[in-house]
Every structure is written in structure tokens, then in C-alpha cells.
Amino acid sequence: MLLRLDNLQRHFGGVKAVDGVSLEVEKGSIHGLIGPNGAGKTTLVNVITGYVRTQAGQAWLEGDRLTGLPAHRIAGLGVARTFQNIRLFGDLSALENVMIGMHTRLGDDTVAQLATLPFFRRDQRAHLNDAHRLMETVGLDPGDVGRRAAGQLPYGDQRRLEIARALALRPRLLILDEPAAGMNPSEKQGVRELIERLNADGLTILLIDHDMRLVMGVCRRVSVLNFGRKIADGEPHEVSTDPGVIKAYLGSGAEKEAVSAPGTTEVREVERATRRSARRGAEPEEAILDVQKMWVSYGAINAVRGVSLRVAAGEVVALIGANGAGKSTILNALSGLVPIAGGTAVFDGLDLTNAKPSTIVRRGLVQVPEGREILGRQTVLENLELATWPRRDRAAAQRETEAVMRRFPILGERRQLRASTLSGGERQLLAIARGLLAKPRLLLLDEPSLGLAPQMVDEVFSAIGEIHRDGTTILLVEQNALRALEIADRAYVLETGQVQLTGGGQDLLHDPAVRQAYLGG
């Protein structure tokens, strides 16, 4: 065993980000680490690499105890990592980035520098050659790419350069945190080949990624995290058919679909299913929101690539898909928070491609952002009042605030408490309530169930259902696909920035292609 984790634990306040994880990575293997958003994967990596202190448990790299060492010493022991959101030294050239990676291997050269001794120049040249070789290993041309500032390189090259920099440490263990995130299929294939090649040369790799095709394809063993706990561990095919894993990825209710025999579904659900299936899964003729061939890019990454979708008044439409599929980006683009690079998007006659966010909100398109973004130091009531602040008619505003607090009694009870004392689910309710006070004609909900315990998810979704019954149109982004499909009239399944599938909520609920979009083939 190269890496051995023994009951590692890390809590942030009440959140158990890493909750007693034990794990073994065999020397010379590629080990996958997967789990839904917020499962604690990155925190686990941060604990292993010393960025975050563990509160209990131990980590060992063969005979070396990693627990308690500062991050730079752990790196010095041969644990190299890349970062989920690339952290290159952007102003420095690509070659300089790789040279910095050699820091621990080089002796101190201060005196030689001052004297500019000849042997120092020879050393320098050897290191430069070394850096050239490393860049070639990851498929970058040192002559051309090497001299350019790392921050100016295309996205895929930056990912590769980060791997080259990690390799410069001559690591015993390489931890790759989402190396293929945001890449197109051919780039992903390139990363896959690179990982396999490095492994063939004897390097042990711990791979974290959301792309199941990649993880299941290259890893010998895969561990699955959910809510900070390891819920499965085994060979790829064992893990991908594990009911617990399917449940973790597709949401509660999934295991019912997966394991229960047909006919055992509760009467209520059957009723609902038949009622829904009467509706057409086709796109509406008249739409309050009409998006055609929309493109959104972050620099060189095309997060959304030609998405078309329509929402009619009174509908609940869900956007589902794995992490990184571009769901939240679509909402942010519609709200005017990120620019739309191509295509058209029209909300109620308003061209969203060049409207200001404030104009968009006034027209009635209101987003409840992912992560809630409530003001923790203000009371619940003050948070709600913030939404009605621009209004002239204070009496009406107050009536509506009272009405919202009656709808969400928990908020009414806690109106004088600081919002930071609320639980995750209650904060989500507060965020939704605040969104409602902005009088939305179309409410955009971004991952309302993110990081919530199952019973809280139920509560949030029943609140969403009630809001819908009151006549609010909803565009819902959700990772918890099955829950979203249960309440949605229609849904769009996204994969790498494109709509793969669309149809009625109930139809998709039973479509195996949805599971494939999340867990790979």
C-alpha cells in the first residue's frame, strides 16, 4: 500500500466534510475517488496534502506519517497534486512554472547565484533540460508553449502544465483533482491517455473526477464518498451498479427505481405519474422564456454550447445533468451575471443577451443562487426586507413579507434570529422566500437541495411544489435528478454544455439514458 488513510475526520462547524474515511491506495495503481457535489472529495485531498488539518485519524505514505506535517513538507515527501480550479503561477512562463516544481530537489544556489559560477550555469542548463522533458511528457511543446505566460495558455494546456509542474516534484503519489473538468471529449481522451501513460511508467495516481467514463475507464479501484463518508469501494463495475452509489448520485428515490419490482410503487405516485404522462413532453408553443442556440464561455472554456430551451408560463422545467454540465452557467447567463457569447435568449420580450442584471430582475426573472448567499449577520426578517427594499408601497411589501413567513412558518418563528443560525435547509428556504418577494414571473432555482440532508430535501421540494401551485413559473437546476424530475413538467438533460435529451419529467424518470448521463455507460 502506498497511501493509507485511517479514519480521517474533518468537520467545519456542524458540517462533517470528511467523516471517518479509511482508504488504501495500492502502489502503482490508478485509484478513483468519486462522489456527488459536496461529498467531501476535495476536503479529503486537502487533508491528505496538509492544507487542512485533520481532527482525528491518520494518513500514511508507506512508512511516512503525513498527519500533522505542514503542506510543504508533505509535498517534499512526494505527494504532488493539481487543483480543481487551476492554480498555476499565471504571470510566469510555462517553463518557470515547471522549474518551481523542482524546488525541493534543488540545493540552495544563493552563493552560486551571486558569484554566477560556471558550475551553476551547468546546473541551470540541466534543470532547464529537465523542465523541457517534463513538458514533452505531458504533450506540451517546450520551445513554443514553454516561453509563454502560463495564464495565457489555452485551458487544456493549463491543465497539462499543472500536471507537468506536479511531476517536477518527482512524486511518489500524484493526486489529480478533476483534471478533465471543462474539457471537450477529444481533450478528455488526451488526458486519459496521459494518465495511463504516467501510470505505465510506474506512477501511482489518485484521480478525482466527475466524468464517469474517464474514472471507470482508467481506474483499477474506485472509492465513493457521500456526505463525507465512504459509501463504496471496489472495482469500477461493482461500484457503478451499487444501489447506494446510484442513490447518492441520482438522489433519494433512486434506489426504489433500481431495486423495487414494478407494481410496488405507492398509489399516490402512480396517480401522479399518470396525471403527468397525460401532459405532453413537447416544448410549448408560447414561451415566457425562449433560448435559442445559446453559447456561454469562460475564457477558452465553452461551458454552454448551443443550448436551446423554452419555458411556458406556469411550467416547472428542470435542467439536470452531472457536475460541470453547464447547468448553473445557463442560469447565470440568463440572469445577466455572465455574458452570453452567442445565440439568442428572450424573456418576455426582453433581449437577455445585452440586458443589465437589474433590468432583468425588474422584468421578473429572479434567480435564487446556488449556495444561498444570504446575509448571515442579519436577521431572517432583515434578509427578507432586503428583497422588498426598492419598493415604494411599504404597506404592501410588509403584507407580502408576512405572507411569505406564513408560508414558511419556520422563517416566521425565527424572524428575529440571525440568519447564520439557520440550518442549511432553512437557509435555502429563506433564499427561496427572498426570491419570491422580488415578485418573480420566472423563478430560477440553482441546486436547492445541494448539501442538504434527505428530510430537508423533502421539505425544500415540497415548498417548491407549493410555490408552483400558486402560479409561479420555475426553471430548476438540480443534481438530484430524480427529485427534480418528480416535480418537473418537462426537463432537459445536459451533458458537457449541450442538451442531450429532453422530454416530460415522468418519461425521463424511467429513461436509462439519464442514469447513463450521470454514471457513465
Partner: protein
Amino acid sequence: MDFILQLFNDPVAFYQTHTLLIAEIGINSILAVSMFVVLYSGQLSLAAPGFMAIGAYTSVLMGNYWNTPLPLNLLVGTLFAGVVGLAVGLPVLRVRGVFLAIATIGFIEALSLGVILNLPITGEGLGLKNPTADPIGGINIVLGSVAVIVFVLWRLTKGRLGRAWEAIRQDELAALSQGIDVGRYKLIAFILSALIAGFAGGLESHLNFFVDPTEYGVTRTVQVLTFAVLGGSGNVFGPVVGALFLTTLPEIVRVPNFDYRDVISGAILILVIVFRPQGIVGRGGLAIIRPRWWPKARSAASPG
């Protein structure tokens, strides 16, 4: 204009008439290098005048009381500033960015208000006489040390130490992942900066017959920071060019019956910051002067 004409027509006479100005440029250049070292390692430390004061008072007091020779006075003053740098740096380097700036300003104020103005030996608010000062003869030491200090820092930034500093400046977390002991290298830079500032302080006091306690306040810090901002802190020559430029500018725009020199200096500074935010000597030297808001050539990456 006479100023520039004289520089080109008769350099020797220029040197003789403007010795004091040249010495001032030299001292400011050393201070600029001291600021460069901390900025290069990503630390917005504004402590330089404090270490200057330590260097200045230490060397002048030694000369006055023990009649020790100048080189020894300078050495002890420099080292003492370094020791204080270590003592201040250990706790202060736990904070970053503007918080570090505020903490170091606190250090300057505590030193001048709390120590210098209260110790009988420093002359309190009255300052300190320095009878052995040598304003004209000192210039050789000044120019020599500028050359040595700039050379040393230039070489250091090219090696492993300099790369570690650059890595830390760009991204501390990423630097850690490459095995760089961030705390240690930041402290090295902080102490080195204190040593250089202490040396500059000692040297400056040797050029003046009087050590003025009001010289070592926040105004001085802002001045030194401006050298680095104007010149650019991507390499050691930037702040030196900044010091040269800003120290000379008031002389260049000195026109009879025209009393708005500070206005012109300020306007030039603003222009540089707007049009060349990376400083005069940025990466790639003085190459292209292009404002940031100027549209770049569009990449073909964006889809249609």
C-alpha cells in the same frame, strides 16, 4: 530644461552641481530595492521607514558616543534593523495584503511615537545632531552600495530563492504544493528588506548633519511605495527606475515663476498608473505602452 541640457552638455559640471541630488537618488534607489524585496515575495509591507530609523539612529549614536568608524556604524545599524525585522516579522507575517500593510504602519507609528520621541538618547522630538556627517564625500559609498545591492538582488531573483518568492507572490497555496516553505521564504524576504532599509537609513544619516524624527513616518512609506508602483516590481530595476524618475522629476519641471511642480509630478504618476499599471519597467521592459482597457485582438476561441 536647463537641468537636462546641462546633463548632456557638461556631465562633470552636472555631477558637481547636483551631487546632493545624485546622493538622494542613490538613497531612494536603495529604499526602493528594500520595498521591491517584500513586494516581490507578495508582501505589502510598509515598514521600511521604521527600519531606516533604526539604522540611522543606531549608526549616528554609535559615532557620537563611541567615535566608532563609519563602516562599523553602518554595519551595526544594518544588523540591528535586521534583528528587529526578525522580531517584527515573526508575528506580523501571519497577516496578508492590506492587513499586513496596516500592521506594518502600526509598527512605524509605535516606533516613532512610542520609542524615538520618548527616549532621551534619541533627542526625543528635537532630533539628533550628527557632526561627523559628510554630505559630499558620502556619495561614493552611496553609488557603490547601490550597484552592489542592485546586483545582489538581481542575481537572487534569478535563482531558486527568487523563484520561490515569485511562486509565493503569485499563489501561496500552489507554492505550498510544490514543497516551498512559504513562511520561511516570506520571513527571509522581510528580514532582507529590513536589512536594506536599515542600511539606507544609516547611509542617509551620514549625508545629513541632523537626524529628523519626522522623516521616518507614513509619508516616507508612501513615497517609497510609489517608487515601486511607478517603476514596476516585476524585477529589481523597476523600483530603481521609479526612484530615479520621481526624485529627479521635481528638478526637471523646475521652471522659474512656476510653482506647480507637485501637480505635474502627481499628474505623471496618475498617467503611468492608468496607462501602464504594471509600472514603467514591466515584464518585457519598456516595450508597448497600451492601456488595459484597450481591446485585445479577439481570439478565435469564441463560438459564433
